[in-house]
């Protein structure tokens, strides 16, 4: 029995969508389950499948049951299907169906479009688990190791969320797409993941933190705009996923923040006042601030590509159909149809970067990207506060949106992080100043030594201010030799 709040644990797949009464979908998901577990064992965290990890699991989707903590072996984690409670009388809130009752079934005319939206979102979830699978071996502490695994199992659950929608609403096509999600592999030559940033390597923990800060934040923006969807099951799925996504933002923001903290403290203790004395700073076993800036440049620019082309008819179609809204759609004060509205878009015109007003409907990707950049900028400012507080003269900054782009308006030009256009030759000379070089990578790798003792932290990162679930600093977040 389910009341749509509490999670039914009587089936193999915990859920609050009444699977016991929906035998066809239950059987389909049970059929998909072994393939998922095989995928997790092959492509999930390497070397820690038997470890006991102090993880959080939702036992209901109301605030009280949202975070139960206990030790669990990751392959035994109860991945389930959890949707936010249904709002009676919910309407489509934007596009040409605005004001109609929200869709409870897939409208025939939008079937292909909707399936594509779900598959693209679904494909990113297992991809990041694959990208991060080798990181456990070099975790800077048990606390960080646990956070990595929490992120991983929740990405796995997000895959389940999308697969449920495919199985429930898309019949045979949906089942095939669900199988494909387990077949593609991040970085694979023959069957890569669908989006570029999800085929990049995550070579070190600073990359992991930057990824969770920048790339998972794209996930947050996408989920938030899908949570606006007129297709109610998608909206409810994404609303619950957002609560989990917040944890990933936390891992990224505090991971980079703790790295910065440690660097500034070590510099102060050694009497180094110039953050650009890279050799001296690195000799302290910490990551110099200019290298952190380069990593930031890389991950921010890679993630901007995920928003797609600035001008896109696809995004206009998704919006018109009521399938994908804007960030915070219901909080925006306008007609929610955008038929006569304009939005300023940065474009390359006659070799110059200029702002041009474009129809707001086709500029929706741009708008979401702007909201994203604003959110990132606030996080970067909180990092700057740490630097300020330690009294080091340095500021981290987001690079210009035209910097290092492979998709959209600026894909054919090279610009500095400040937005100055460079010739190919100048770019070749300067790019190592802006993006992590081979030697930066080697230095970072030299720091990636595991700190797996209880209460132990690697040289380059501070301990967190607060433990997970209010645990003390010497808590054994992962029992490795379980």
């Amino acid at each position: 029995m389910t009341d749509n709040i509490n999670v039914d644990y009587s089936t193999r797949i915990p859920n609050n969508v009444g699977l016991t009464e929906d035998r066809t979908v239950l059987r389909a998901l049970e059929g998909w389950h072994p393939g998922y577990i095989d995928w997790w064992k092959d492509m999930g965290p390497e070397g820690f499948q038997e470890a006991l990890v102090y993880l959080r699991t939702a036992v209901s989707v109301d605030p009280k049951g949202w975070a139960k903590f206990d030790y669990v072996k990751m392959p035994d984690y109860r991945w389930g299907v959890l949707l936010a409670p249904k709002e009676e009388g919910r309407k489509v809130n934007f596009g040409k169906h605005k004001g109609e009752p929200a869709f409870q079934e897939v409208p025939g005319e939008y079937r292909a479009m909707l399936r594509r939206l779900i598959v693209i979102q679904g494909d990113t979830e297992p991809a990041s688990v694959e990208q991060q699978r080798h990181l456990g071996a070099t975790a800077p502490s048990l606390y960080d190791l646990r956070n990595l695994f929490q992120v991983n199992v929740e990405e796995g659950r997000h895959l389940w969320a999308m697969v449920y929608l495919l199985h429930k609403y898309f019949g045979r096509d949906g089942r095939e797409e669900a199988d494909e999600l387990l077949r593609r592999r991040s970085g694979d030559q023959d069957s890569p993941r669908m989006l570029g940033a999800f085929n990049e390597k995550t070579p070190d923990w600073l990359s992991f933190f930057m990824f969770t800060f920048f790339t998972d934040r794209d996930g947050k923006m996408q989920l938030e705009s899908l949570a606006q969807s007129g297709f109610d099951p998608l909206s409810r799925t994404c609303r619950f996923m957002l609560t989990e996504e917040a944890h990933h933002m936390f891992v990224g923001e505090t991971g980079v923040g703790r790295t910065i903290q440690r660097t500034c403290e070590a510099m102060k203790a050694a009497g180094i006042t110039d953050p650009n004395e890279i050799t001296k700073v690195r000799a302290l076993g910490v990551i110099d601030l200019p290298t952190i800036q380069k990593k930031l440049n890389l991950h921010y620019s890679l993630t901007l590509d995920l928003f797609g082309a600035e001008i896109s008819t696809n995004s206009a179609n998704f919006y018109n159909a009521g399938l994908k809204g804007r960030f915070g759609e219901t909080k925006i004060d306008d007609d929610h149809q955008l038929t006569n509205a304009f939005y300023p878009v940065l474009k390359l015109v006659d070799g110059k970067i200029v702002k041009v007003d474009e129809p707001a409907l086709t500029a929706l990707n741009m708008r979401l990207r702007d909201d994203y950049s604003e959110d990132c900028a606030r996080g970067v400012e909180r990092w700057n506060k740490i630097i300020d507080k330690e009294g080091v003269a340095f500021r981290l900054e987001l690079p210009h949106v035209a910097f290092n782009r492979k998709i959209g308006e600026f894909r054919d030009i090279e610009v500095t992080p400040k937005g100055v256009i460079l010739s190919a030759a100048d770019w070749a000379k300067a790019s190592d100043d802006y993006l992590p070089s081979v030697s930066d990578g080697e230095f970072l790798n030299s720091l990636m030594k595991p700190a797996h003792g209880v209460g132990e932290y690697a040289s380059w990162i501070s301990a967190p201010k607060v433990g997970i679930d209010n645990k003390p600093g010497d808590f054994e977040y992962v029992r490795i030799a379980a």
């Binding site: 605030p63 009280k64 139960k68 206990d70 996080g379 433990g467 010497d474």
Partner: protein, 393 residues
Amino acid sequence: MNAPLKQHLIDPEICIRCNTCEETCPVDAITHDSNNYVVDAARCNLCMDCIPPCPTGSIDNWRIVGAPYSLEDQFSWEELPKQEQIATGDGAEAIDADVQALIDSAHTGAGGKSVAPASALKPSVNLYNRDSAAIATVTGNYRLTHEESDVDVHHIILDLGDTPLPVLEGQSIGIVPPGVDPDGKPHRIRLYSIASPRHGERPNHNNLALTVKRETNGVCSNYMCDLKKGDKVRITGPFGATFLMPNDPAANIIMICTGTGSAPFRAFTEWRRRAMPNATGRMLLFFGARRPQDLPYFGPLQKVPDSLLGKYFAYSRVPGEKKVYVQDLMRREETMLAKLAPSPHTHIYVCGLKGMEQGVDSALDDICRSAELRWADLRDAMRSEGRYHVETY
């Protein structure tokens, strides 16, 4: 000056501005500007809904204040203000923010704001703190678990001499372990439930007993378990103002525990035995351990008559036997429990490891369904009437 109140605050240094709390708050007490997320003291009803979903722990901050910090104060903060020295009033379980956080965390399993039973006596809290700790002398330290068991649980008796330390069953005291951690900071205070009734381990002696399990690498538990007769111990507290016993002989008291979670229930049982020998209310104990050898107070419990205490022992690791957990025994006693559950005289207490909450909750859910009751509703009603209590760690 107004009576001091407990104000909910968000730590701006730890918050990542993810908006989850604002989204969750059922009374719209949480809001934000471009700088901070803040809590409106006039609206916040301390329902705790925002606590579990917060990914950072920044949400879990409390200050006892004479006048609450305004929204404008909070918007301007770069860090949380320190706790000011304020005389304690009613309502708070502890004045020290660290200790309060421990108690709040232990109570989260009840699913809402904890309330003391209506008939419970008013407890004293916060009489001693780290800087002015009470000094007790160890008068006994006995191993409670069987010598073959690898679980090492001790019964430790502390004598307060002439120092007043009024306590009630269900309250805790803090132990200040000597020494400092590798960073040179004093070790954290650990809380232990009192295992003896209000008038002493021996009636009318100024002493009390604790039940302490030795934890590998546990600074305080090892210190405690190794104490010798005559050693001096620094005590803070007492703490806790809701997990208390109803002062009512008609009250049915259902106690569910594992391991050292039995400590407060030993106190409850002893108090009822000594003070209300003809009580009409029933006392039931559901007690789980891995094996009989690992169960604290196994021997003494056998001697407690069934008329005073109905005992149900669940063992999860007896070789050759099926694993049995407390929730399994509760389901087995469904008929009796379903009859007791709706009575306004019934109180339920859960104490032990966090891991037990879910199983117990789902057993109660099943039992209620068999009586055509909804546990979620009953639980909320019982909790607000001070009849449902969870203390897990």
